[in-house]
């Protein structure tokens, strides 16, 4: 289901028509909603004002940092609400929903808050319809059209919200995994590299070249590689570490590996990685001592 909706979000037109179908929104429904446009424009500011100033009903996002960003949020919410009454099938309408979702995500406007505002506003419009229509049956038809169209409108926005949220999370994860590893100079000729996080082949290459550059720039002769903070060490990661340490040796520097936990040690032995290739030196303190001794000789 999700996939289908996402794909319609990617390409409107045909797909959007399909979404209207899911919500049983007909051409007539959309025409009726579009007819409400003048009524909405007349009343929207009042409705929003009432919504924001109700007792206890509104506590998010906080009023303290009103001014600039708050006004921006209100202006956007007003615009997004008005777009409901365009109820168009076109690219622009679709982009509007996407923009609304992205806006909500980036300003931290939760789906519940967004839904609350819409429910309130739609109910208010329904009251207005009730009051302005002489024929009760017709009022009911218009209200039904509005609710269906609004549900679809909200679904599209939420869909975009969730896509934007997923992207934001992925982006953060990517940034985290690409966070450069610090190459610290402990003393002349001695580098300390605390590796943290996951070590895939891309990051491992970046790390290796970083260490090699540092060896050259600082004429380092010893490197302590500490993997206490590495999430998981499998044969792939062990292989990356061996490559890094081999490259270090080609550059003329010794390297020792510290921070192999007992769990990691057991796992490494099980997959056939022996100590020799990794030049392990126990904990960080012993590793640094070992490296210092190498420098003295």
């Amino acid at each position: 289901m999700n996939e289908v909706i996402s794909s319609t979000i990617q390409s409107p037109g045909e797909g959007l028509r399909e979404v209207w179908g899911w919500f049983d929104v007909s051409q007539d429904d959309r025409a009726r909603v579009a007819d409400l446009s003048p009524l909405m424009e007349q009343n929207i500011d009042g409705i929003l004002q009432d919504y924001y100033s109700r007792d206890g009903g509104y506590d998010h996002p906080s009023d303290e940092n009103t001014s600039g960003s708050m006004q921006e949020v209100r202006a956007q919410q007003r615009r997004h609400l008005l777009e409901l009454f365009d109820a168009g099938l076109d690219q622009k309408y679709f982009e509007g929903r996407e923009a609304a979702g992205i806006f909500n995500e980036s300003y931290g406007i939760s789906p519940s808050f967004y839904m609350g505002l819409y429910t309130y506003a739609i109910n208010r419009v329904c009251e207005l319809v009730q009051d302005s229509c002489e024929d009760a049956a017709e009022a009911q038809t218009v209200q039904r059209s509005l609710r269906k169209t609004a549900a679809c409108h909200q679904a599209l926005t939420m869909e975009a919200f969730s896509t934007a949220r997923t992207e934001a999370i992925e982006q953060r994860e990517r940034q985290l995994s690409e966070l450069p590893t610090p190459v610290l100079r402990l003393q002349e000729g001695l580098l300390l590299v605390p590796v943290v996080g996951t070590l895939d082949s891309h990051r491992s290459r970046l790390l290796t070249i970083q260490i090699l550059d540092a060896i050259r720039d600082q004429s380092a002769r010893a490197v302590v590689l500490d993997i206490t903070g590495v999430a998981a060490v499998d044969s792939m990661v062990a292989n990356h570490l061996i490559q890094t340490m081999t490259a270090t040796r080609l550059m003329g520097a010794y390297s020792v590996l510290t921070g192999i936990s007992s769990e990691v040690a057991q796992a490494l032995v099980k997959i056939g990685v022996t100590g020799e290739a990794l030049n392990p030196a126990g904990d960080l303190e012993r590793g640094v001592a070992t490296a210092r001794k190498l420098l003295e000789t």
Partner: protein, 118 residues
């Protein structure tokens, strides 16, 4: 050929510096010349400076190992100095490790390395 790999000596120390990219036959020539100089000058230490080489592939690595091995058969020891970061990276990814040849970052370190092991 001397232009491509000048060899200078100081006491029992020979320093051969690769000046530019070498073809395979250039490398073979270099091997011959280094061995000749080791004999002629009774050198006991050889430093091969490869900091200007921008590719060291499998043949190049094998030749570096061969040169070091043949130098040691002549009773001298050899260190390779100046492998650049991106070259070291490429060598490791190719699986080339230069296992039995001592390496150093620069001339000073290389000279110290050979002195230590004397």
């Amino acid at each position: 050929m001397g232009r491509r790999v000048p060899i200078v000596s100081q006491g029992d120390l020979l320093i051969a510096s690769v000046q530019e990219e070498l073809s395979d036959s250039d490398i073979l020539d270099m091997q011959t010349r280094i061995l000749e100089e080791v004999s002629r000058l009774s050198a006991t230490r050889v430093i091969l400076d490869v900091s200007l080489l921008d590719v060291i592939d499998s043949f190049g690595t094998r030749m570096l190992c061969d040169i070091a091995a043949s130098v040691s058969l002549r009773g001298a020891r050899m260190a390779i100095v100046g492998i650049q970061p991106e070259i070291a990276m490429a060598m490791v990814l190719l699986g080339l490790t230069l296992e039995d040849v001592p390496t150093a970052q620069n001339l000073d370190h290389g000279i110290a390395l050979l002195r230590e092991r004397a």
